[in-house]
């Protein structure tokens, strides 16, 4: 990787939410995995170098999935007729329990990682389970496969099935052990991951906040996914004025970089806290409709200046394909418009931005092909019999709506081809 790479193709990316930038038949120069520049003609200094020519293909930033539960990959699409609590008790929790077995975990996490690659996800923020050993395996599988990720061992010491309930001290200790063991990889890193406020004691939340501070590590959790959860939190934490305040008080709300999945039902105070603390919300449209949580008022949150990325939320979302999360985010915003014609729906640029440069900002300079960005890319090949008469922008849209893993013929993370 200590050299130049040159790729040629139709280069498409969203440097801002307002713009799909299209560089037809252009060259992208990559140095040590970082984009040096895009040129419509190859500068003379590179004439002697090898060019990987992807011809008519589209070269896009790889997808960033800001919220996925790796152990739930096996349950995608299953049991979704059930109410949330039955779905959790009948499917999710027994499945997560199986990750006490490292042999099962190795197999399941390998399948999960393979599917991430297949679907063109190059960076992902991942919940594992409470199990230290299998979470360690997940770190190692992702490192070996070259995917960029934040991986969190879940912390959970109350209000859950006994077989998934940790001793508070053990939870803290094992979390720190994983941080120490896996804290130094350039692409796969630990993230503090209390499942959500209701399943951690005050003592555990406090200790996780301390670990975030001590190791300067990011945090991920769930926030205001549905109304009964919000009500439950207010009962469990009667001295906190909002759900967000709970996390804030324990050092888990922007004191270090923070992701909060969902954020559908929020008060004005919470919106201010989120903005002022630079917390990033993760919109998970497929999950929100599969379990009837609600619809995030994305346009409204964006207008308030809140950062939003996209997540698959597998297994409540049933696919790791982030192209489908892009489409579903657009569709849900159109449904908002049905109920309130004043709301301007998301367009392709805005939703694609969320799934690339927007969400990618949690990883640093990721999700774009501007100079200085990590060369994280996917290469799209489509059927000229069908797309031959289309513009590049139309082919790009068509891939998002109708493409699948077969459309993706190459994947790169920081210049390294991973699939």
């Amino acid at each position: 990787m200590k050299e130049n790479q040159i790729f040629k193709g139709n280069i498409i990316f969203a440097p801002t939410p307002e713009e799909i930038k299209i560089c037809a038949k252009s060259y992208v120069i990559v140095r040590n995995g970082i984009v040096e520049g895009i040129y419509d003609k190859l500068p003379e200094v590179y004439w002697r170098e090898k060019v990987k020519d992807y011809d008519e293909c589209l070269i896009l930033p790889g997808f960033v999935d800001l919220h996925a539960h790796a152990p739930q990959f096996y349950q995608c699409g299953i049991g979704l007729d059930k109410e949330l609590i039955d779905w959790l008790n009948d499917h999710t929790l027994p499945l997560e329990n199986r990750f006490s077995d490292p042999v099962f975990a190795w197999e399941a996490y390998s399948q999960f990682a393979n599917e991430l690659i297949r679907q063109g996800t190059v960076r992902s923020c991942i919940f594992a389970t409470i199990h230290k050993e299998s979470t360690g395996l997940l770190f190692e599988i992702l490192m070996e496969k070259g995917i960029g990720a934040f991986v969190g061992k879940i912390n959970m010491d109350r209000n859950c099935a006994d077989f998934l309930k940790e001793e508070t001290e053990t939870s803290i200790l094992e979390t720190e052990e994983l941080i120490v063991k896996y804290g130094n990889h350039p692409l796969v890193k630990p993230i503090l991951t209390p499942r959500f406020a209701p399943t951690s004691s005050d003592k555990l939340l406090s200790a996780i906040g301390e670990l975030a501070k001590k190791y300067n590590l990011p945090v991920q959790s769930h926030l205001s996914e549905n109304r009964s959860e919000v009500k439950w939190v207010s009962e469990l934490f009667p001295f906190h004025s909002t759900y967000s305040d709970v996390y804030l008080d324990f050092g888990l709300f922007g004191q270090t970089p923070t992701l909060m999945a969902h954020g559908i039902h929020l008060t004005d105070r919470e919106l201010e806290l989120i903005k002022d603390n630079n917390v990033m919300l993760v919109h998970c449209p497929e999950s929100n409709i599969n379990i009837a949580s609600g619809i995030m008022p994305v346009r409204k949150w964006l207008q308030k200046g809140i950062r939003i990325g996209l997540g698959s939320d597998v297994g409540a979302g049933h696919t790791l394909a982030m192209s489908k999360a892009v489409v579903r985010a657009i569709q849900l915003s159109k449904i908002m418009k049905v109920f309130d014609p004043q709301v301007r729906p998301l367009n392709t640029a805005e939703a694609f931005y969320m799934a690339t440069r927007g969400g990618g900002s949690f990883f640093g300079k990721v999700g774009s092909f501007e100079k200085g960005y990590s060369f994280d890319a996917i290469v799209i090949e489509d059927d000229p019999g069908i797309t031959g008469h289309l513009s590049l922008e139309e082919r790009f849209q068509r891939f998002l709506y109708t493409g699948d893993d077969r459309s993706i013929i190459a994947r790169f993370v920081a210049g390294r081809q991973i699939g």
Copy 2:
């Protein structure tokens, strides 16, 4: 086909909207393309006959798509950021105009038919364009490939782009020519297809109604897709009390079997007319959200006793995969629940029923494996590495949510394998 066929596998179908019937490792006997019965042990009389053993695979009824625009297949996923009128003018109408060229039509319709087969659709109700010659080609392509279909040449003589506007007399004449030429095939049949009320003159609507009566042919059109359309119809037909009454007065609303796509915004009178005239509505969830038409209150319509099938509505819907229409119908009904917690969402059985036996009833005994039904089937193979621990019902759900054309390893229409 004049003989018995015997298939073995895990046979799954919805004889009613309340039940997914699962016959594990069972035999289905087919005689002359018609299901004779399902047996868990092969009756002695068949012991000398050849059994096609699909082993662990699932055998499901093939999908029925009650509403697709064949010429729009090339525009799937394109231009969906635009408002409806721009989308039509910039993409749909210029594309439909290209079907004046039979060479283009042959290629495009072949691609469309191949995709139907790939996605496991065995029966489809199809809008072509106004063009007689290319509509004839569509009949022939579908016949040759063995798909079951109703095919309609569109009638349109006002309120549309000049290049797609027919002379009234020509429209009537050419429609009748196609009826005469293609009226006698067992699987591919003509259907009267005024695009929708606003684009046909009274004279044309009246003549189409006469043709339906004369040849005893079914009718398909659009009804109450969005509010501005409803308003427009009320302005164009000031002497009709509702949109449905327009069709009714011209003999196009149940006088022969009738499909109406959408039916989202309906008055009580219209709901009664629909029920009393046995008109079938076609719910097209993907299309409804892609172009922000609204959400059909499916539960409410069902409770009023209205028949509802599912449609892809390609190209406003972006995929011909009816498994995705099943999922999207469930998802939209869950969104209804978000806005009104009293509404019970659709479950898998109900939505799958709509896409098989429910919609199939428009074709006769289609969409089930009960005795006397046409053996229209798809065979599903999944990955035992992922689904090995799942029940048959879970594997079935997983296919609907996460499967694609690769999961389908065989397709049958009336006992004949078509892919």
